[in-house]
Symmetry: C2
Subunit: 344 residues, 2 copies
DNA sequence: CGTCTGCATGTCATCGATGCCATGCAGGCT
DNA sequence: AGCCTGCATGGCATCGATGACATGCAGACG
């Protein structure tokens, strides 16, 4: 790779003049400019990005760290970020944090050491105080999950309201015993959704039954086990509320293998093919792309206006997408008499 | 951020000694080492990654560029790469190339300018000759799609064999008119799969009918249009072969809205919830994680043994996962008499 | 006692781009 | 003529870490 000095030597000028030509400094004689440009083209000069980064102390890259990039929800967020960042000719670097809470800090620290222009995080741990030493130098925005012990911008969906709406929706369909199927109570989103579920029950005057709450359903075996536990009860639930898309995606095959075709279901988070299933799954749509757009836009604004003040905690509305799974089975009055209704 | 010089000044030693302590050079007196370590801890010294990268001329990062990170197939590849890279404490930077063929080169060039330790690409264009100037300095591996006009390692699935197997499978189920539903004939994978489809027909002594070939079905409207075109024919197909997962995911809702419940379907590429659909979709599974693992392992090997020789073009086998959609409808002998069979 | 060896530590240069200041020349003005 | 101004260009330092080499001291040995 040719450097500025190589070009300078060939053009009989100083490296500084080459720099001037490259950066369109007007104080270069036209003849000199021509000559330098010609040499640059000949040797295919490309400025060394590493040297530039080192000198400026910044990398023109936005980091994105999510629990799992293979999760459609998070990859949709990442995709939206990429699209907007590309318009500003900012590169995006996406990384998964994985399952191991202890890995969050080293991964994020390693990312931030690159002196990123900004970082967007959907965290997995419950303490991000270690990020404090970066907040002064790098704009950080949290998505999906709010930060703990850290004052930075965040954009989260309305977990409580969405879960409340979903549960209320099932209650309106006549259900009184509604099972809660979640991943882990330690994840703030799950925690808030459970709270929304509880409040909906309470608002409807329905007693809360701890035995209807299950966790660990984000994978196949976990979902099978959770379902077995729920259905083995003396008074099993007639409907389920799945607390996130991964759980829904594990739970549905579990329902099918267990031949539990008479359980209504509403899930938090849309997922691929949800509308093509039989019955099509009713979900609370989180609009991950919108979440991503908000996050990257905030980063870009923070870069442009470092001292402006913004609202830190932002809650985005969610939308109940009614499909068909919430109609199963029909309310008690004529239970079993109608067939499953499938929405387009 | 404290630098080595700051630490050196506070510890009354030279920057070089700080460097020695940090890099565990044995030629440091224990007392000095203690003192320096203490100061480093006090000022929370972190070496400047940008300076290190600049000096070494390398960034300890593996780049991954795929058409669309929100596509489950590509995000599964990326995820597998991340997992293995993390074991070697290599960071991974994932980027989408998008739809626009013209953006491939600028995006990859920008990535490579960071002097990555390696690059894994699933390309969207049909000419990668511009990457030639990087191959000497950076290990590059192609996945899913082989490179054109470029001699680098590649790992692709057996498109031709998989399409042949899928088509043959439908033929064995009694189908004679099989529609081909694809994205774009310009993508090498689609091209090879069409070829596999043709050969399977030919091997079975079935004539090839160009009117059964449709493209542009990777999105909802395209799939609807393709389906309408196919079914409007005098002799419409009795089965469809979907050339990739995105097409399958668009085609299935299209089949449902058109109430085309009597068309058999086999898709190339597994996709989320395929096994939970009614009927569960029979697919050719490409095992994207395996593809990713091969790619990252080859990169790591190339880094460790720069002069060793490897097999450039590698074709990984694919597997037909028989579910239920290929049984629709039952062969002519007793057509219409049986109901749809749903596999778990 | 002189010299040699070994180890602790320091000095300087380097990687490539670029900001700051210096230099030097030409043309114009009084 | 003398001086000033403006512009083209160059020199040097800098960013932070680190390799190559230098220095300098202490202990050992003939």
């Amino acid at each position: 790779m040719a450097t500025m000095h190589d070009v300078a030597a060939l053009a009989n000028v100083s490296a500084k003049t080459v720099s001037r030509v490259f950066n369109n400094d007007p104080h270069v004689a036209p003849a000199t400019r021509e000559r330098v440009l010609k040499i640059m083209a000949e040797v295919n000069y490309v400025p060394n990005t590493l040297a530039q980064n080192f000198r400026t102390g910044r990398t023109p890259v936005i980091g994105v760290a999510v629990p799992d990039i293979a999760d459609p929800f998070f990859s949709a967020i990442a995709r939206a970020i990429e699209e907007i960042a590309a318009e500003q000719s900012m590169a995006v670097s996406v990384t998964s944090l994985g399952q191991d809470i202890a890995r969050e800090q080293p991964v994020l620290d390693a990312l931030l050491k690159f002196q990123l222009s900004g970082l967007i995080v959907a965290p997995i741990s419950s303490d991000q105080s270690y990020l404090n030493r970066w907040t002064a130098s790098t704009p950080i925005v949290f998505v999906d999950r709010a930060p703990t012990k850290l004052a930075v911008d965040s954009f989260v969906e309305d977990d409580l309201g969405g879960a409340h709406a979903a549960t209320t929706h099932l209650i309106r369909h006549g259900h009184r015993r509604i099972g809660f199927v979640g991943d882990s109570p330690n994840i703030p989103t799950s925690h808030n959704r459970l709270e929304g579920y509880r409040r909906a029950l309470s608002d409807a005057g329905i007693a809360f039954h701890p035995e209807l709450i299950t966790f660990g359903a984000s994978r196949g075996e976990g979902a099978n086990a959770a379902l077995r536990r729920l259905m083995a009860q003396p008074a099993p639930p007639t409907a389920l509320f799945s607390s996130d898309a991964r759980c829904s995606m594990s739970l549905i095959p579990a329902l099918q293998t267990a031949h539990e075709t008479n359980l209504a279901l509403v899930g938090f988070g849309d997922f691929p093919m949800a509308s093509a299933l039989t019955p099509a799954t009713t979900v609370v749509d989180q609009d991950p792309a919108n979440l991503g757009r908000h996050a990257i836009n905030r980063i870009l604004e923070r870069i442009a206006h470092p001292h402006k003040r913004y609202r830190r905690r932002n809650i985005l509305p969610v939308e109940l997408v009614e499909r068909a799974s919430c109609f199963v089975p029909w309310p008690a009055t004529d239970a079993g008499l109608r067939t499953v209704s499938v929405a387009g």
